[in-house]
Subunit: 208 residues, 2 copies
Amino acid sequence: MIVPVNSSNSTKERILGAAESLFAQRGFDGASLRQLTSAAGVNLAAVNYHFGSKEKLVEQIFRRRLDALNNSRLEALALVAGKENTTIEDVLAAFIRPALDLSHDESGSLFMRVLARAFAEHDDTLRQFLSENYGHVMRQFTAEFARLLPQLSKQELYWRIDLVSGALTHAMSGFGMIQRKSDVSETVHREQTAQHLIRFAVAGMSHP
Amino acid sequence: MIVPVNSSNSTKERILGAAESLFAQRGFDGASLRQLTSAAGVNLAAVNYHFGSKEKLVEQIFRRRLDALNNSRLEALALVAGKENTTIEDVLAAFIRPALDLSHDESGSLFMRVLARAFAEHDDTLRQFLSENYGHVMRQFTAEFARLLPQLSKQELYWRIDLVSGALTHAMSGFGMIQRKSDVSETVHREQTAQHLIRFAVAGMSHP
DNA sequence: CATCGGTTCAAACGATCGTTTGAGGATACG
DNA sequence: CGTATCCTCAAACGATCGTTTGAACCGATG
């Protein structure tokens, strides 16, 4: 119980890595602990030993990534919030770019698929967990949008933010038909995605 | 082998009804045939007898709804496509409203959740099936958008349509935080959804 | 060396899954 | 009535699931 070191080759870390990948590919129910531990090169019982249960492992996966995403978004927002010359685009970029940056490393992009699946699965306890973690973030963004778009009612504002979130989730999880061309590097493709997404969102947020 | 009658109380129809509801609530893997047949009030073996397998039942569920949705969209598009005074809003309404109308009846709205889950599950055979059924529809809509937005490149057009689809999927499956207030009727709420969604999409599609 | 807490391991547990089976009911036709 | 054709039913099949168990291993401590 002494060691806080996250040796990246520990059994725990190997499980988390394999879990993120397999959950994204097959979903929480679809990925079995036997596939998972086999891919991680650890014993079947290791998951229950280190995490208590499969469900708690899922929760760990979410907490790890969502904490990072939330912090990045709030940091980016803090740089522009309340400033006089801040634009809608600045705020949207603070909201969107951390999500896209998260998908920079491979396991991060897998996580976005995990997240999209979790949304789709409509699990109530998971929704509540997300709401608790995301709630204050969304409130801060909403407040800043309200400052920049004073002509919009609260209802109208909620709607537009919600629709932007939908487009973002869709684009990030690779739902759509837009696939990266083989002659475009991953970095360039992500930047193009960000550009399209932000311009689309700016138009959707700020139309009369 | 004679009877094409779809008596709505037949074993087959009862299975399809219960399946749509249960798949939406628990997903394809999450809903077992025992839960399903129990809810439908039929014997466990009835699914395999009438549909061959669980997988073929899923396919039937999709075919039934997607055929109706595709036809509605194409009919609505045909009323405005190629006309001189057609607007972006007209085309978007032809795309969006049939989807919202589908969710008019209860089982229809459940189907939209089924569809959203299917997207999230990234199943390749299912994606191919959807692509085959949706392909020509999307192509016709894309062509009409291209006519009304000649200044956009093909790439740019694909991106915007994709993002609209994301927002639509998100809004329709009830992902978001926007919930119907108790003092607003279901009909009114759906009309409000349509209005918000279409105006948002018009702005996102036609911005410079 | 002996001991002990933390960790890994093979094996098994009970539950649940989709599917199959074979007997029996129901209805129509000769 | 006898037979043929759907259809329904209870029961069982093998597979796979998450979890538990108890022994074995291992490095640190006395």
